[in-house]
């Protein structure tokens, strides 16, 4: 398999990627999704480690954690940083690439930086 040497690539201006948004960058075999999570930027590969679905086409939102004292025994957390695979709805935290249920299952993450109001992905 031919490995691409990671290169720092211009994605878009920060204005074009507001909080809650995602930009799909055509790089590598599957592409990479760049996310703005409340002002911080993250990137994950657009390929679910389960069956190869286009992960970044899934809904981005939060998830639920156990809260025994609340009437429904749960609370909403990690708003804006959890993507659900559009196929089996597996939850991945875009800030770490880890599957929420089983953190040993992960997807590749990439470096994103902002310079002069411009978003750059290293992939």
């Amino acid at each position: 398999m031919v490995q691409q040497v990671p290169t720092r690539r211009f994605v878009c201006s920060l204005d074009e990627l507001p909080p809650g948004g995602m930009k799909l960058v055509d790089v590598g075999k599957f592409g990479v999704g760049v996310y703005n999570v409340h002002g911080a930027l993250y990137a994950i590969v657009n390929y679910c480690s389960h069956e190869g679905a286009p992960l970044c086409l899934g809904l981005i939102g939060g998830t639920n954690e156990s809260a025994p004292q609340s009437p429904d025994r749960m609370r909403r957390v990690r708003d804006g940083q959890i993507v659900r695979c559009p196929w089996h709805n597996w939850e991945y935290d875009v800030t770490t690439g880890q599957n929420v249920a089983d953190p040993r299952r992960r997807v590749r993450t990439y470096q994103v930086d902002v310079s002069d109001g411009e978003v750059y992905l290293t992939a």
């Binding site: 389960h50 679905a53 196929w87 089996h88 709805n89």
Partner: protein, 382 residues
């Protein structure tokens, strides 16, 4: 509507590709309620669609992840030109046939109605719609196959419906709900349908039909789970119940040519169920004078299982289990496109023991449905 460009064939030969993957569970939807209703007898329209809305999302009492947004569908399967996933035959062809590499797919619409006669008319209407749209207008490539939907409530009329479609070039099987209002599949109630299906060479497939009307909510013997998670994990026990009835109530003895396909209900349960039935039959032969053969033999001869949803367990152990089970002749690959729990062909093929792969991905379905060895290629497909 997206259109897949029809390939003008001059010689015919170079347009054909080998059939390698048969998908035995795909769900088409009418593009609108009006379109569907146009196939129904006028006097039934108001009775079956009193709100005039046949294709609105139905309530999910057991709801799948984020179903308010996803409606149990793959989010990436929404047609770019609009409409709900599964309503655009050419976009489905692009995603399933072209992108995923499926050669032939069996279409299984889902519908139910509360009253027997209305349900029979509704199922017939779906058959007319399916045959006209998916099996004719959008089937220049000949790669869609269809199911003859019938009502479990009206077996005599179901038999006549089967006769109506006998000989159709693309109808491949009969389709009936497993939610049969307390009547197991082996009951003589279904004999007229099985007789017609077997005589015309149509397997009888069954697939979850939904959670409405009221009496279709499956009531589990020890009560119902609270979540889709354990509800659907337990769902195969409905198929187990029907299979045990088919065997022990003598349906396979009454209908030696009947073939039954259990869709989307798993298949790894077949191994323990076969041995359980064999042991009880050996111990209680006297109770079953009408069951002439060992139960596991009936399963091997009469029953097929579709593979989706594949279990996510370690590959080595899974393949070992399938080798032990030795049902390589009885499994048929399926995707469940465009539903969310879709299995991709590339993922699936790797899950099976090497020597079972060809049969599961192609051979068994080809033999069961009498499918060709080659099909027309789509533009860009080789």
């Amino acid at each position: 509507m997206t259109t897949i460009e029809r390939v003008e064939s001059s010689t015919g030969q170079e347009d054909e590709i080998a059939v390698t993957i048969v998908d035995t569970d795909v769900h088409p939807l009418p593009v609108s309620a009006d379109v569907l209703m146009s196939y129904a007898p006028a006097e039934w329209v108001d009775k079956i669609w009193p709100t005039g809305n046949a294709v609105a999302p139905v309530p999910h009492f057991y709801d799948t992840p984020d179903s308010y947004k996803t409606m149990s569908l793959r989010l990436d399967a929404a047609p770019p030109n609009g409409g709900i996933a599964g309503s655009d035959p050419d976009f489905a062809a692009k995603q399933l046939l072209l992108d995923a590499g499926v050669s032939i797919a069996t279409l299984e619409p889902m519908c139910d109605a509360h009253l027997p006669q209305a349900e029979h008319v509704l199922k017939s209407t779906y058959n007319d719609w399916l045959a006209d749209v998916w099996l004719d207008k959008y089937n220049w490539h000949g790669r869609w196959r269809g199911s003859i939907s019938v009502s479990a409530q009206t077996p005599e009329q179901a038999a006549r419906e089967v006769e109506r479609w006998a000989g159709h070039p693309y109808m491949a099987q009969v389709l009936m709900t497993p939610q049969t209002r307390g009547i197991p599949f082996g009951n003589p109630h279904f004999d007229p349908l099985y007789e017609a299906a077997a005589r015309n060479g149509f397997p009888v497939a069954t697939h979850l039909m939904g959670q409405t009307p009221f009496e279709l909510i499956p009531l589990y013997p020890v009560g119902n789970p609270a979540h889709w998670h354990d509800f659907f994990a337990s769902w195969p026990l409905l198929y187990v119940s029907h299979l045990m009835s088919l065997v022990f109530d003598g349906a396979f003895d009454r209908h030696p040519d009947l073939r039954v396909v259990f869709v989307e209900g798993g298949f790894t349960w077949a191994m323990p169920v076969m041995s359980r039935m064999d042991r009880i039959w050996e111990a209680r032969r006297g109770d079953l004078p009408h069951v002439r053969r060992r139960p596991s033999e009936y399963v091997r001869e009469h029953v097929r299982f579709t593979t989706q949803p594949l279990e996510d367990t370690d590959t080595v152990g899974f393949r070992e289990y399938l080798e032990m089970m030795d049902l390589g002749d009885n499994l048929m690959f399926s995707t469940d496109y465009p539903h969310w729990s879709y299995d991709s062909p590339t993922y699936a093929i790797n899950r099976f023991p090497a020597e079972q792969r060809e049969r599961i991905m192609r051979g068994n379905a080809t033999a069961l449905y009498g499918l060709p060895a080659t099909v027309k290629a789509l533009p860009g497909e080789r």
